[in-house]
Amino acid sequence: MPQQLTFNRGVRDGLPIGLGYLSVSIALGIMAAGKGMPLWGAALFAGISMTGTGDLVGINLLAIGGGLIEMICAIAVINARYMLMSLSLTQKLPEDMPMWKRLLIAFGNTDEVFAVASTQVRPLTFSYMMGLILLPVVGWTGGTVIGEAAGNLFTGTLIAAMNIAIYAMYIAIIIPAARKSMSVLLVVLTAAGLSCLLTYLPGKPIGDGWIIIIAGVTASALGALLFPRKEDA
């Protein structure tokens, strides 16, 4: 019997995400300091944007003096996948949830928050989502501050190794589902294969943001065509 989706349950589910973000955003903070971005700027960017690759690219664009239009286009391409995730999340939210609650949930709908939320069996509650989002926001912002302020305490090897933490968490989310369901396994393998194929095309004609969307949607559509889900499943 799944537990009630309370605020506390959300905080507990958000703890590993927050710690994973902490380790990755330390590296981000160190990079921001190296690019001459002040601590308050990096912390503000991390705290209000809540996007890993987006921040990475954003800080680089700021450092080279990129234009605002360039920033809008780059971020839109890199983060377009969130539109799919938010659309998917709408199906798990109560239909009568008020707009302000929806707008707050949207703020924290990161890849990992979405992955954890979407694997819940019960309908999502507002308090669960707020609990789930809390520690990721604290971890992401806090890690950026630590990296900016105390980056010299970390060795390069440790920083490099910590980059794998987020990917390891993705793996821990998809493997149990792929183990239980052949159709999920097919989707996972197809998406991985397509993503590798598109990444290593000669001359790399497609950007990373688009590759994720093309590979992810194609693999999921294939799964939906070959193995449609039963009603109410």
Binding site: A106, A165, Y170, I174, S195, G223, R229, E231
Partner: protein, 99 residues
């Protein structure tokens, strides 16, 4: 870095990210009926996450062999004990040892 320029950039980029996330959640309330669409949305998290992992995970540490060992450790551990934090810590440790 010029403060005004930096602030403008931060606000614009964060605004774009937020709009992308908020528009579907704000606009879509009804339950979808199409079996294909529902199936697509069910598979989407796994498809998108898998596409984000591969091949990026192999280049994320700057050492392909160490990253591959860390990935293998994460996959094997997730098979038996899919605890997010534990898998992340073990993967980082495996990369550190392999480097």
């Amino acid at each position: 870095m010029d403060t005004g320029y930096m602030l403008a950039g931060i606000l614009v980029m964060s605004g774009v990210t937020y709009l992308i996330r908020a528009l579907p959640i704000a606009l879509v309330r009804r339950r979808l009926k199409s079996r294909f669409l529902l199936s697509l949305l069910y598979y989407l998290p796994y498809g998108v996450l898998s596409a984000m992992i591969f091949p990026a995970v192999f280049t994320c540490t700057g050492n392909v062999l160490a990253a591959a060992i860390g990935t293998a450790a994460a996959v094997i551990l997730s098979f038996f004990w899919p605890n997010l934090l534990l898998v992340a810590v073990v993967a980082v440790a495996a990369v550190l040892i392999a480097m």
